[in-house]
Symmetry: C2
Subunit: 127 residues, 2 copies
Amino acid sequence: MNISDAAKECSLPTKTIRYYEEIGLVSPGRLANGYRDYDEDDLHKLRFLQRARGLGFSVEDCRVLLSLYEDRNRASSDVKKIAKSHLVEIERKISELQSLRDTLSELVQSCHGDDRPNCPIINDLAR
Amino acid sequence: MNISDAAKECSLPTKTIRYYEEIGLVSPGRLANGYRDYDEDDLHKLRFLQRARGLGFSVEDCRVLLSLYEDRNRASSDVKKIAKSHLVEIERKISELQSLRDTLSELVQSCHGDDRPNCPIINDLAR
DNA sequence: ATAGAGGTTTCAGCAACTGGAAGGTCAAGC
DNA sequence: GCTTGACCTTCCAGTTGCTGAAACCTCTAT
């Protein structure tokens, strides 16, 4: 299967797929004309990457997850460890953003937003 | 005031301060020896940037906010518009992360995390 | 023969810094 | 006067995860 069909199949841009190859995540075979040729195994990995990235795992996490995915004997605790620490990261980000939102939304609400120059938002930033 | 004192004063790394100068956000004077020399005005701007970046405004937002900050006649609605759209962005990110967290936390919970190879997380990613 | 829709590589750029190298400057201590 | 160490300077490269564009090759259809 050529790259654009693989792209459709896995919901990834061709650019991204080539990039994943460049950094050693997927290595499709090549046809006589030099075109990349994706088999079922490659497609599986690409779908795996698409899902894992979609869940916010870093590319380096994905590299490890892929190798665990390919290792029929890995312990589920190895996978769980990565997922858990990613989860902690996500939760940290959420609460950080929530406190940002609270501060910012107070500022926005206190600003009348009219033609006059007085602005509590700017005042706060400049304080 | 030299750069490292300014850095302490504004809670910013010197590298960042030089970077802000490079992209035209702050332009301190120079001493005879070539050292940067920050006056109160520069420090105000740096503190402003520190706060605004801390609130998650992009550097380009900060550029606009700074110019509004310096414009004694700007309308508060100009500021409010930027802050509001930033707020929307933050709220979008929060709910995105929340749904990520929900999915991931289900997966993590369903994985027993022991020595055995069977792993619902990997299974899900590979599906 | 040619047009166009694919494919290939390589380089540059995005955001917002951060690290490091190579070198100039300054104050203190001997 | 000299050295040491802590500053300062500039410039270049790297980070993350792609994305755009240029220059070129290949295949298919007309």
